[in-house]
Symmetry: C2
Subunit: 229 residues, 2 copies
DNA sequence: ACCAGTATTTTGTCTGGACTTGACATCGCA
DNA sequence: TGCGATGTCAAGTCCAGACAAAATACTGGT
């Protein structure tokens, strides 16, 4: 009964959580482990590599692997498409386009998207509902210099997120989360009082080193992002 | 010059971002890819596995691998220890203990930590400063039933986070992020106006299926959590 | 037409062997 | 003493081949 890489992983993790292998201490070399578990070094290597990826151990050539002093805690949050998020909770999804315009980019946006003066952008404001109550407010700016198709696209039936995903298959993103206070308009749309604290997600999507779209998503009052590991 | 798994990964990712392989389309089998790249199947497998881990492709036995329709966007946020976060920015760190008490767990906490009536907890309130200005407010509750050592520990010089890390080597956690409004006390400590929106992180740390500590971290006004990928 | 069992395909994992790379140690020479 | 060349070790990567497992396709019987 040879050990799988999964067995090895959980066993090592167990030794660490139980305190048998203390933070900072050296873990036996791959060759040793391979022998004790009765498996090949490649198998041990995979187990150790994944533990290192997860921030639990630290590996260095020549010196060996050791338990991290401060286990690097990193949380993985899924950033879902609103519609999927809502539908996965068994709620009905509704989308509403509030405003749609094509304008010259305001200065703050020009700086953010690295646009030239006079460059035009498509500006969209929309709302996403779950079971009829407001769920998320979307304030979206699309760079028309990079995505001229966006000028003629129709966003009255479905949101810009889904359209954009069909246009830009995969891209690099910068996501930022902060708290903000509801202004008059937001309060009305999200059905809360002005000044209420709201969770906001900002996202800039880059493609070929150029920012193609910037969006500010304001979540419904009380919204939480949760993850466990 | 054979292709490394890294080469293969970037090449495939390139084909996807350039739109050569569209979302939903089938990617050649590992055996095919191994031949086209002139490497072993194991090498291709590793490249594909990592792409799958990153949420870019979807793999299924027998049916093969395909580009995800909705690239699973997941953000990895580092959850740093405050002190490290501050010191990495080249700022000076200061810690202050505001309140320390051992009390019977209030009802809301009892529910959260699954405690029996009368069980006692250590309650700590502290502040973390960066370059002299308030950075983070920490409201920490430690389960004394599971961690009796916490009753006699001294938190006047350094924060409970660091002490806890020495006690619980590795554990599973539930993290939740939300927006909250500053109350009178928070406003005073964090040097802002009451009602100001603040980003709050809540964390429950479990060990052996029992919640050992619950903490509510309220960040300074304007704080953002950022990540890019 | 339906169903159960079987074949096939594709990914998942493992093996034991090899070479590479980065980091450290040490030796020899100026 | 200082310093560069060389050695050594452990992790990093790769290979070819093998079997396992899951999911689909197929096939024959009812």
């Amino acid at each position: 009964m040879p050990a799988t890489y999964r067995d090895i992983k959980t066993d090592i993790l167990g030794k660490i959580t139980r305190g048998e292998w203390k933070p900072g201490s050296l873990i036996p070399g791959e060759l040793d482990l391979a022998e004790t578990y009765g498996s090949a070094r490649a198998t041990v290597n995979r187990a150790m590599r994944e533990l290192a990826d997860e921030g639990i151990i630290e590996r260095k050539r020549k010196s060996g692997s050791r338990v991290r002093l401060t286990p690097l805690r990193q949380a993985r949050f899924d950033i879902p498409v609103v519609r999927h998020e809502i539908e996965e909770q068994g709620r009905s999804y509704r989308y509403a386009l509030i405003r749609s315009e094509v304008i010259a980019a305001p200065d703050w946006l020009r700086a953010r998207l690295a646009l030239a003066p006079g460059d035009r952008v498509r500006h969209l404001v929309c709302l996403h509902f779950g079971d009829g109550t407001p769920w998320q407010h979307e304030d979206r700016w699309i760079n028309l210099t990079l995505l001229p198709q966006a000028e003629s696209a129709d966003f009255s039936a479905s949101g810009p997120t889904e359209w954009l995903m069909s246009q830009i298959p995969f891209s690099s993103v910068e996501i930022s989360i902060a708290a903000t206070a509801a202004d008059e308009v937001l309060a009305q749309h999200l059905d809360c009082a002005p000044g209420d604290p709201l969770l906001m997600t900002e996202r800039s999507t880059r493609w070929n080193d150029q920012t193609v779209t910037y969006v500010r998503l304001v979540h419904r009052p009380g919204h939480r992002m949760t993850t466990r590991y």
